[in-house]
């Protein structure tokens, strides 16, 4: 395997975020091409490519588009989920900073395919510079005639609204995002009905992740066969892998799906000098952790599922032997408790207790029975809430306990900070000595 800069190919050019920088490399050239064929042909091509959603769940994109009922007399909507907030995920924000036009162009193809004349890009509010870049890109696209009425004389109209969130992880969940976009508290809806049938304003709506949409222009340009030469049969294409944590060169590495974590580590310069890998998490805190023994498993949707975890956002977090697993899990429990929207009792109350019990392990004041109690709370949350936040909160503990039970046992008498000096885990540990 090798790195395959495609979405990232021109990020080193200083004007990569402008329409000039984008057009220099063929940007928007495909707009008249897709607007020149029947929308169903665009859907068919994306289906044939096998592209799967890059937001975490990996649902086939073309199939999602195909679920939108046609000739139903209702307006259709495209909503881009740019609410990147999953702990560990940091690929969509860089993409919007570096090449927002790939997202805007993707919206044009996608909206045309699903017969939407309105698209919304819902960007988390805490990243104003991404909002600026995407807003500017949309304005440039209007000025160049790629958005607005009768785009390039095709008869197709599209308006894009860039919308800022206001600080709520839950709004990355697609139905909570829709409620938020309707001007309400961001709380998830019961499914079905699915958004493809009753989404924004109860109308057919497609919600796609930023990276998913940014893939579309490359598929329109190069076709399904080209796209499928990357990755595997079940996980075609390439991915923005964002490698973070205890590695020498954290960053964005674009490579075929099916690349292994060992290869990504090599690109990233390996685990930081003098240390060894303890555990890693392939795609955000909401997916189960893995060990060094799993480094050679291909990073695909199916292979990660085979290990009992998920590819998720494809943004691996790497932790070395200086890290306390108990401290890591405890902090994530705080996060889920903080971000639970409060709608469903098992999640609202369960995360409340999980946080407190994990704090006891971290402080070294837990009792041995707490190990089973926490497990029981997790089981009471999983599958018992409207959305995946509850499931996510219930996820990290079990694999951590399975792999590092002794650390939880130690939490009955010794604090995590005594067992693992927090200073040693910092990136600036030893900086003073040097």
């Amino acid at each position: 395997m090798a790195l395959t800069p495609i979405l990232t190919a021109h990020w080193d050019e200083p004007d990569s975020h402008t329409i000039g920088g984008y057009r220099r490399h063929g940007g928007y050239d495909m707009v008249p091409v897709s607007l020149g064929v029947h929308p169903d042909e665009v859907i068919a091509l994306v289906k044939e490519s096998g592209l799967r959603g890059r937001g975490g769940a990996g649902f086939p994109t073309g199939m999602k588009w195909g679920f939108v009922p046609q000739n139903d007399g209702k307006p259709h909507y495209l909503v881009v989920n740019a609410d990147e907030s999953e702990p560990g995920a940091c690929k969509d924000i860089p993409l919007m900073l570096a090449n927002p036009h790939s997202l805007v162009e993707g919206c044009i193809h996608a909206a045309y395919a699903i017969r939407a004349n309105h698209a919304f890009i819902y960007i988390r509010g805490e990243v104003p510079h991404a909002v600026r870049r995407v807003t500017a890109a949309v304005a440039e696209a209007y000025a160049a005639g790629f958005l607005g009425k009768d785009i390039l004389g095709s008869g197709f109209d599209l308006d894009i609204v860039v919308h800022s969130g206001a600080g709520a992880y839950i709004c990355g969940e697609e139905t909570a995002l829709l409620d938020s976009l309707e001007g309400r508290r961001g709380q998830p809806r019961l499914k079905p009905p699915f958004p493809a049938v009753a989404g924004l304003y109860a109308s057919p709506t497609v919600i796609n992740n930023v990276e998913t949409i940014a893939n579309i222009p490359t598929i329109i340009r190069n076709g399904a066969d080209w796209f499928k030469q990357f990755g595997t049969e079940k996980s075609p294409g390439f991915k923005l892998f964002a490698v973070s944590g205890h590695v020498e060169r954290p960053g964005i590495y674009e490579a075929s799906l099916g690349t292994t974590m060992r290869e990504l580590l090599e690109y990233a310069g390996g685990v930081r000098a003098g240390h060894e890998l303890k555990f890693w998490i392939p795609g955000g805190s909401s997916v189960p952790m893995l060990l060094p023994e799993h480094l050679d498993t291909p990073l695909t949707y199916e292979d990660m599922a085979g290990l009992g975890t998920m590819l998720g956002t494809g943004t691996p977090m790497v932790f070395d032997e200086t890290t306390s697993v108990v401290r890591a899990i405890s902090r994530w429990m705080h996060f889920y408790k903080h971000e639970s929207c409060g709608k469903c009792t098992p999640c609202r109350e369960g995360t409340f207790w999980l946080e407190q019990m994990l704090e006891r392990f971290e402080a070294g004041t837990a009792i041995e029975a707490d190990i089973e109690t926490v497990d029981e709370i997790c089981k009471q949350i999983a599958g018992r809430s409207f959305c995946a936040l509850g499931d996510a909160a219930a996820t990290p503990y079990a694999p951590a306990l399975k792999y590092f039970r002794e650390e939880f046992l130690a939490g009955t008498h010794t604090s995590a900070d005594e067992l693992f000096d927090p200073v040693a885990a910092t990136v600036f540990a030893g900086a003073a000595a040097r």
């Binding site: 090798a2 395959t4 800069p5 990232t8 080193d12 091409v33 607007l35 020149g36 064929v37 042909e41 665009v42 091509l45 907030s85 702990p87 560990g88 995920a89 940091c90 924000i93 860089p94 570096a98 309105h118 509010g125 805490e126 104003p128 510079h129 600026r132 870049r133 807003t135 500017a136 609204v161 800022s164 969130g165 206001a166 709520a168 938020s180 309707e182 001007g183 309400r184 508290r185 304003y201 490359t218 329109i220 190069n222 076709g223 030469q229 973070s244 954290p250 964005i252 590495y253 674009e254 490579a255 690109y267 977090m317 994530w332 996060f335 927090p422 200073v423 885990a425 910092t426 990136v427």
Partner: protein, 228 residues
């Protein structure tokens, strides 16, 4: 700072951008916050009036989202990420140092009114951990000395630049940009070494993606439709 006729006109503008005006509520709350520094009862009333909701309905939304502040933040609102990855890589140490220096805890404002502090959750910049924010602009790859240096500059009212974005503006200016009124700063900032890590490695090692076909497979269909 106050709500003005211009604020109301801007709110009406926002409401008109959406198929249903209520969709403008989140941007509108950013707008009234940009005018007053916090979301006040008056700001809530303005949103309710423009959209046609009750103040209770608007307050229910405003209190759900962490970015809407009900009491004054500092001239600069500083965030320190203490979610797991940042915390482990140094965020906790940075938090302790900054909190001690300012003499404030989470959601509090320094005595001189210059800086308010918030423990923030994952900021989607994990490759740049530990991460801080100032008025929500990225301060990447921080350590304790640099964090304290930034804090000192912010307290002194000196100019500070975001690592990937623009000069740090006021809280109100940033809120206005979030509301949907561009501030002309989109061109500021740069793509940093973390964003370019893979591309740099690929170029150094002669790696590239295989080229595509000469023409899009859809182009034939587009051409025939044009001829027809």
């Amino acid at each position: 700072m106050a709500l003005t006729e211009q604020t109301r006109a801007d709110a009406v503008d926002l409401a008109g951008r959406y198929p249903q005006s209520r969709s403008a509520l989140l941007p509108m709350l950013h707008l009234v916050q940009s005018a007053e520094g916090t979301v006040t009862a008056d700001g809530i009333a303005l949103c309710a009036d423009v959209i046609g909701l009750t103040t209770a309905e608007v307050a229910a939304v405003a209190t759900f989202y962490t970015m809407y502040k009900r009491h004054k933040v500092g001239r600069v609102h500083v965030g320190v990420c203490t979610n797991t990855l940042c915390a482990v890589l140094g965020g906790d140490a940075i938090w302790s140092a900054v909190s001690e220096r300012l003499g404030v805890g989470h959601d509090e404002v320094s005595a001189d009114g210059a800086v308010s502090l918030e423990r923030i959750e994952c900021q989607a910049a994990c490759t740049n951990a530990p991460v801080m924010t100032a008025n929500w602009e990225f301060l990447d790859d921080m350590d304790v000395p640099r964090a304290l240096e930034v804090i000192a500059k912010l307290q002194a009212g000196e100019e500070v630049h975001s690592t990937r974005g623009p000069r740090i503006g006021t809280f109100e200016e940033v809120e206005r940009a979030l509301a949907g009124f561009p501030d002309g700063l989109a061109g500021e900032g740069r793509n940093d070494d973390k964003m370019l890590a893979g591309l740099t490695y690929a170029k150094a090692h002669g790696m590239s993606a295989p080229p595509g076909p000469a023409a899009s497979p859809l182009a034939a269909g587009a051409a025939s439709k044009t001829e027809a």
